[in-house]
C-alpha cells in the first residue's frame, strides 16, 4: 500500500490519471447538473409555503455544501503536505482554493437573493449565511497568504498551517454563530432547514449536488494540471509531453 501512496505523490503519474478521468467528470457533471436543474426548475412542484422562490435551493444548497467540503478537502491535503511533505497535496490546495472561494460567494449570493422574497430584505444575519460569510473570509485569507509568499516551498507549508488552523475553527465558528443567532433572533424560518421534501424535490437536488461535485472534479484536475505544468516545466517528462503535442 505504501508504494502506491508514494506513487500517488508523483505529479507525472497524477497527470496521466487526470487526463483519463477528466472527460468523465466533465460530461457526467454537465449531464447530471443539467438534469437536476431542469427538473428542479420546470418540473418540481411549487412549494406550498414559499412558492417558486424555493427553486433557488437547487443551486444554493449544492454550492454551499460543496464550498464546505472543498475546505475540508483542503484541510486533509494540508495535513498530507505538512506530515508527508507531498508536493501534489500542495498543488491540490493551491488549485482549489479559488474554486472554494467562488462557490462560497455563489452560495452567499443565491442565499441573499433567496432571502428577498422570503423575508423582504436582501441580507439577513441568519446563522447559516453568517458562517458562510466567515468561510469566505477564511478562503480569502488562504489565497492572500498564498499570493504573498514568493518562495514555493515556504508558501506551501504556511498555507497548510493556515488551512489546518481554519478547519479546527470551523466547528467553533459554526457553534458560536448558531448560539449568537438564537441569542438575538427568535427562531425564524431557518433558511436551509430542509422541510420534509417530497421525493420530486430532493431527487433533482441530489442530481445537481452530484453534478456539481463531478464538475468540481474536472475543475480540480485541470487547475492541478496547470499548476503542475508551471512548477515542473523544466523537467524532462514535461518537455516530452509538450513536444509530443499532447494536452
Amino acid at each position: 500500500m505504501w508504494q502506491f501512496f508514494h506513487k500517488l505523490g508523483s505529479p507525472k503519474w497524477f497527470y496521466g490519471i487526470a487526463n483519463r478521468f477528466m472527460p468523465w467528470f466533465l460530461w457526467g457533471g454537465l449531464i447530471l447538473l443539467g438534469a437536476g436543474l431542469v427538473w428542479g426548475l420546470a418540473f418540481a412542484p411549487k412549494d406550498y409555503l414559499q412558492g417558486n422562490s424555493y427553486r433557488i435551493i437547487f443551486i444554493h444548497v449544492p454550492a454551499a455544501f460543496l464550498a464546505q467540503s472543498v475546505y475540508l478537502m483542503m484541510a486533509s491535503a494540508a495535513l498530507v503536505t505538512l506530515v508527508w511533505r507531498m508536493k501534489l497535496a500542495d498543488v491540490f490546495v493551491k488549485a482549489i482554493a479559488p474554486v472554494g472561494l467562488i462557490l462560497t460567494f455563489l452560495s452567499l449570493f443565491t442565499g441573499a437573493v433567496w432571502g428577498k422574497p422570503t423575508w423582504g430584505t436582501w441580507w439577513v444575519w441568519d446563522a447559516r449565511l453568517t458562517s458562510m460569510l466567515i468561510l469566505l473570509f477564511l478562503y480569502g485569507g488562504v489565497i492572500a497568504l498564498d499570493k504573498a509568499i514568493n518562495d514555493e516551498k515556504s508558501a506551501a507549508r504556511a498555507v497548510a498551517v493556515l488551512v489546518l488552523v481554519g478547519v479546527v475553527n470551523i466547528p467553533i465558528i459554526k457553534y458560536s454563530v448558531d448560539w449568537w443567532n438564537t441569542l438575538h433572533q427568535p427562531a425564524t424560518f431557518k433558511l436551509t432547514e430542509k422541510p420534509s421534501m417530497p421525493m420530486e424535490m430532493w431527487v433533482p437536488l441530489l442530481l445537481s449536488v452530484l453534478g456539481l461535485y463531478l464538475l468540481f472534479g474536472w475543475l480540480a484536475c485541470i487547475r492541478m494540471k496547470t499548476e503542475i505544468l508551471t512548477r515542473e516545466r523544466r523537467t524532462r517528462w514535461v518537455r516530452e509531453l509538450v513536444l509530443a503535442g499532447r494536452k
Binding site: 436543474l37 420546470a42 412542484p45 411549487k46 444554493h60 437573493v113 485541470i222 496547470t226 505544468l229 509538450v242
Partner: protein, 77 residues
C-alpha cells in the same frame, strides 16, 4: 411540467426575477471559472512549448552579451 405556459414559467408567479438572476449568476461564474481555468491551462502549455523551443534553439546558455557601455546617440532615434 409544473407550469402551464412558457410565460408562466418565466414569470414564476412573481418570483421569476429572483430565480432567474440566481441561475444566471450561477451559470456565469461556473462557466467563467471552467473556461478561464481551461484557457489558462492552454496558455501555460503554450508557454512551456515556447520556452522549450527557445531553449532548444539557443543551444547552451544564452551568449554573454558584451556590455560595451557605449553612449547611445539619441538624435537618430
Amino acid at each position: 411540467m409544473a407550469f402551464d405556459s412558457l410565460s408562466a414559467f418565466i414569470a414564476m408567479e412573481g418570483h421569476g426575477p429572483y430565480v432567474w438572476t440566481c441561475y444566471a449568476v450561477f451559470v456565469i461564474f461556473l462557466a467563467g471559472l471552467m473556461i478561464g481555468s481551461a484557457r489558462r491551462n492552454r496558455a501555460v502549455l503554450e508557454a512551456c512549448k515556447r520556452g522549450i523551443e527557445q531553449q532548444g534553439s539557443t543551444t547552451g546558455t544564452r551568449p554573454k552579451a558584451a556590455a560595451t557601455f557605449t553612449r547611445v546617440d539619441v538624435s537618430q532615434h
